[in-house]
Symmetry: C2
Subunit: 146 residues, 2 copies
DNA sequence: ATGTTTGCAAATTGTTTGCAGGCGG
DNA sequence: CCGCCTGCAAACAATTTGCAAACAT
């Protein structure tokens, strides 16, 4: 598990950007490192509260924003619902099911044509991890067609 | 101009679905038919107010929702900012610039790989007009690189 | 008539901000 | 101790909802 490397690297990055290390920041980073899913700010806050009730939601938002600024964390917009956060470790996009909300990670290849044609035809630089590809997941698709 | 065909078709669809035709509904449809851009609910409300002040925003939301249900109108989520609506006439996706908010329409081809690999690898049915592809437009990209 | 629509106001959801005190380096 | 950080409360943006009156058919 590379949780420690991720966590320590993040702490260093915060320090060297002039930021300070607090218990809550450490928590947030650990929570994101431990989560295999994409968490909303509210979800992160809930987990923080398990060990430290009383932390303000606004603080969590501010910490997440700081981490995004430092490019340690990525946030992606999922059509309906809150923004989700995750450590920006590997390159991937997101497939979000409109029916059940399931988020599936998508390999970079899926975005190749979109990225290259976006650039060549429109001069548009696509940021594939920042947005959600909306649609219907396998199980919902089969459930709906029955 | 096919505004009339679009408008009349929409009115028929509303009638045959059991809905009633009101001045405000007619307005909303005409506004969308006349607009070449993608409008937010707030923007539609503002235009409606030019001729009929006093129409409640909630009414416009309800009308837009009805039109979406009848598949006469499509709405797309643009990362940050409100949802935008447009007549669902031709097939296209949306490239939304994170810097300036510019919305560029994208040809279906850009989504071919995403759609086919999404399906073959994840069984995920991509709905290409429903979400925004976030990134940076030509002018913002060149401005930022300078 | 009768069931759809609307205006109004209040509630929701997700997030941001202002401020005064607290704490990390 | 200096300045980043935090909690709290209030502000915000974009919608959504509950209701009784108004209107389309």
């Amino acid at each position: 598990m590379s949780d420690h490397r991720d966590t320590d690297g993040a702490l260093d990055a915060i320090r060297s950007s002039g930021g300070r290390i607090t218990e809550t920041k450490r928590s947030v980073i650990e929570i994101l490192a431990a989560a295999n899913e994409h968490l909303s700010a509210e979800a992160v806050t809930a987990v923080v509260h398990q060990t430290t009730p009383g932390v303000a939601p606004s603080t969590v938002y501010r910490i997440l924003e700081e981490l995004v600024r430092l490019k340690l964390v990525e946030h992606s917009h999922a059509g309906r619902g809150p923004v989700t956060y995750h450590l920006g470790t590997h390159d991937h996009g997101h497939l979000v099911c409109q029916e059940c909300g399931l988020i599936t990670e998508a390999e970079p290849e899926l975005f190749e044509t979109l990225t290259s044609l976006g650039l060549s035809r429109h001069g548009f630089v696509v940021d594939a991890h920042h947005f959600a590809v909306l649609g219907t997941c396998v199980s919902c698709a089969s459930r709906l067609s029955r």
